[in-house]
Point group: C2
Chain length 573, copies 2
């Protein structure tokens, strides 16, 4: 491809609204163009990358035995009423009325549609298992779309759905998809990590997310460097070392802490470690006050909390409610000497504290030297309700956890019979009995992977693509293309030889100054650049530059094709 025949418009600066490096670079490199909030057009350079990601995903899905289909984007409301999700899904679902005033949505996902197909076409165990996938445009009406294609409203997704006679076979296919995803991300040359995950709104049991590791990632991942363990912080269990509880050694004391409400500030004022402070959260669940206790340096994990009995839907208490039940104001509350009917839930780690500090339920006062057994009369439920932190024990007992950040690009679920029960998707087993099919579903964010690859691969000059998805393998920067017949002939010949050899080559034939060409080619991240000018041709030496390392070497102009092919082959191995 010649740049004069291509559609490329690079920008020196990205629009202000772009915060993330990938968003800035995708706009600057002309990969995408904004049409509206969370809506982006993929321009030719960006589309080449998107298509390469798509093709790798398709190739591995086929290899795994899945069959490609294409379901409509527009789905009738009736199906979603059957699964109960028409109401549950919320405002993220783009609801539509057609000209006859009938209700539809722009599908945010396709469990209902695929289950409707399966319940019509799958009659017998002989037709199982089956895994159907599609690569298709989805829409989720994000309240605040941001980060470019990373969290766009319209996006390209691969979604697969498998059907099985029993759980064992579902688990076999789940493992097959797990391995397929690993192959996909390895072929994409991305650093990634599969992590145990919460199942969220999709439902079912058993789920893994696949994260591309990047500091800017929205998700925190806990992993154990000494083992395979990895889980989303939402889910990772906070394991408590079997320790000895230090007995209550000091007496309870009320101290004045005027206007000091946050744990950090209390620790500062009293000159003690923040881990000595007990954080008390006042929540309302089923119209009753619940106190939740967390160590001052820890964070509540709301997902873990909602799984406890009676806590599925809670909210934080208002100042009035706190006054009413505890007497004291927000910021100074604690579990000591309160109404004995108030439910108290303590995090496991917090329950091991002794001689700690907490609020006195009185404006501008805290208590010090507090101990659970001696000072708190209410029954205390103990549960894992905090986020893990770096240094926590790994749940697999093989070391301690570290925290890293990741971008979720894949998610696989064991749905079990959730949708087949709701939509009555049944088959006849060998004995002729009707049974619900076991189901799995497997998603990959195709368009998000492009942004994630940039988050992982960029420097101050621009994008550094993995070779597997770079829009072109090699760029020729032709210095003086429009002035020198020698340069033009050399580049034209080399380009056509490279095309014949199957190399995706981009010839910069614009006749721009070297600085302009280099800056553009670095910004768009072509892995290798061959610089060709009169001097190089005269001296018989051309400059070869590696985008990733910036290292240069020279290539003999009279054996350029062979040397280039060697360089590209070597890098592949």
């Amino acid at each position: 491809m010649r740049l004069t025949q291509f559609f490329l418009n690079t920008l020196r600066e990205a629009p202000n609204e772009a915060e993330l490096a990938s968003h800035q670079l995708m706009l600057r490199a002309g990969l995408i163009k904004k049409l509206g909030g969370g809506l982006y057009s993929w321009l030719p350079l960006g589309y080449r990358v998107l298509k390469k990601v798509e093709n790798i995903v398709r190739d591995e899905m086929e290899r795994a035995g899945a069959l490609e289909v294409l379901m409509p984007a527009i789905q009738p409301a009736e199906l979603w009423a059957e699964s109960g999700r028409w109401e549950i899904f919320g405002e993220q679902m783009l609801k539509i009325k057609d000209r006859h005033d009938r209700d539809f949505c722009f599908g945010p996902t396709h469990e209902e549609v695929i289950t409707d197909i399966a319940r019509q076409d799958i009659k017998s165990y002989r037709q199982l298992p089956i895994n159907l996938y599609q690569i298709q445009t989805k829409f989720r009406d994000e309240i605040r779309p941001r980060f470019g294609v990373m969290r766009a409203r319209e996006f390209l997704m691969k979604d697969a759905y498998s059907f099985h006679t029993d759980f064992a076979d579902l688990k076999r296919e789940y493992r097959n998809m797990f391995d397929t995803y690993c192959r996909i991300f390895e072929r994409l040359e991305l650093q990634y990590r599969p992590v145990a995950a919460d199942t969220g709104a999709i439902g079912g049991t058993g789920s893994h997310e696949f994260h591309v590791l990047a500091e800017s990632g929205e998700d925190a991942i806990a992993y154990c460097p000494e083992s395979d363990y990895a889980a989303n912080v939402e889910l990772a269990e906070a394991v408590v070392a079997k320790g000895v509880q230090i007995p209550s050694m000091v007496s309870l004391k009320k101290v004045s802490t005027p206007q000091v409400m946050k744990c950090e500030d209390v620790a500062n004022q009293l000159n003690i470690p923040i881990a000595n402070i007990l954080k008390t959260l006042a929540l309302i669940s089923n119209d009753k006050l619940v106190l939740v206790l967390i160590r001052g340096d820890h964070q509540l994990n709301e997902i873990k909390l909602t799984k406890l009995e009676g806590m599925a839907q809670f909210r934080f208490a208002t100042d009035e409610e706190i006054h009413e039940h505890l007497g004291g104001p927000m910021g100074f509350i604690g579990p000591v000497r309160i109404d004995s009917k108030i439910r108290i839930i303590s995090d496991r780690t917090a329950k091991l504290m002794s001689n700690f500090i907490c609020g006195a339920n009185e404006q501008d006062y805290h208590l010090t030297g507090v101990n659970f057994d001696r000072d708190i009369e209410n029954e205390i439920e103990v549960a894992d309700i905090r986020n893990v932190v770096s240094g926590d024990l790994s749940p697999d007992g093989k070391g301690t956890l570290e925290i890293c950040r990741g971008i979720e690009v894949g998610h696989i679920f064991q749905l079990r019979t959730k949708y087949s029960d709701l939509l009555k998707c049944q088959y006849l087993d060998k004995e002729g009995k009707s049974k619900s099919t076991e189901m799995g579903c497997y998603g990959i964010g195709i368009s998000r992977i492009v942004a994630a690859a940039i988050e992982q691969g960029h420097d101050e000059k621009g994008i550094v693509w993995p070779r597997s998805i770079a829009p072109y393998s090699l760029a020729i920067a032709a210095i003086g293309y429009k002035k020198s017949a020698i340069v033009k002939d050399f580049c034209d010949n080399l380009e056509s030889e490279l095309i014949d050899a199957g190399v995706e080559v981009l010839l910069d034939d614009r006749g721009e100054r070297p600085g302009v060409m280099f800056a553009d080619l670095e910004l768009i991240g072509i892995p290798y650049r061959l610089t060709v000018g009169d001097r190089g041709i005269n001296e018989g030496k051309l400059e070869w530059t590696d985008r990733l390392t910036g290292q240069t070497s020279s290539i003999a102009s009279d054996s350029a094709l062979d040397e280039i092919m060697n360089n590209l082959r070597e890098e592949k191995n």
Copy 2:
């Protein structure tokens, strides 16, 4: 692919609602599944065909120098307000409100979006020409979706848009796209015809439709067997032979025709050819009555009529209006002795009539022996306002026209500066002056082509695919696959050898009776079938059957691979 691992469910009968052969066969062969009105899922077998069509289109677009992009399906109303089409497009456009109550549509076409991209990114003549295309899901909210994917609401389309400095360059690219479309339909192995067309709602000047020829086609096409001439009947000019007008030889006479109103019935009663009857249509345009005259055996072409001055928006007159202006009732009207201010438009051919019959503007009476010059006092405008019929002279003067029916699968337009003027898409020319870009647009209905191919290629047994888009090239019908180890080993080996040789082979390993296998394989239209059973293997002879002709020949079992490869190669040439 083995049929036991595939997802195929054939039906003996199609649902009643399917009228068209392609719709019936696509449902029966399990290519598609209905989700809702005009909404279809593509199942694995159908998707393979769809993808093959898509890939041929993509391949030829790339060869033609076009660059692939992907624009959002969801488009903001503001852009459509700029072009004025938000209101004009009508109810076919699916309008949507997002969670913030902002207006969007599910794009039925992308002129606005692409012009918005071009006006941002194209600054200079140096960046032109450019041709950008996408293969993407479109939505048109048809009032009565029917014929399966032929007229679905959601469908897959290739749409391309080109930008140019001047009209000459637009015409060059238009020719390039015309030739590209011919190559595409030749590679698809479809009988097709490019025809001159009306530009319709898209606007601009110059337009060709590409039709797949089929008796069930919705469009009538006039073509000249002796030349290249072809045009949609909507547009084809009715040329009048230079003849001599026969002088008025008979006198005007009023005849009683009680309750006889239709031209056919009048001709029958009076025992004269229908071509001797003048059909008079009473229309209202700009609140005035207009009479339109057509020969009794011809049809009014409303598109031609609307292009005449003052006729852009007309309607048929009511019985009251006819009484008011002409005195007589509907069914008995004519242009003789009427208010001299009434505008009369006559079709060219009608104007050549003499001694003809028309209504008397009186209940149950017609006039005979009518002649224009002698009996009609009003001024008569003469224009081409009828549909051509078989036997009309070809407008290129090279013979006479025939009429055939076609399915529109492609449409190319010279948009000129319609959208670039409205959206201010301008570039700087060599002199530094701002100019509107000249534009072309080029559509192909990818999903409709699949249905059109079936309309053209089917018989009583099912589908007969063109080899270029058949889901598999060859089927192996394994008789006794589950009972005979010899058959199983032979088929398994042959299958893997064929896969290694790059042949797309479908092995029917279900162990069904031959009749069931043959019926399914014929229904889904695999071009060749190799039948393998114990007897064939013992005798060293296997049966090879051609789906199109039904002819069989034999293949030696000990050189099966070579003979199959020879057969497939021969058929390609």
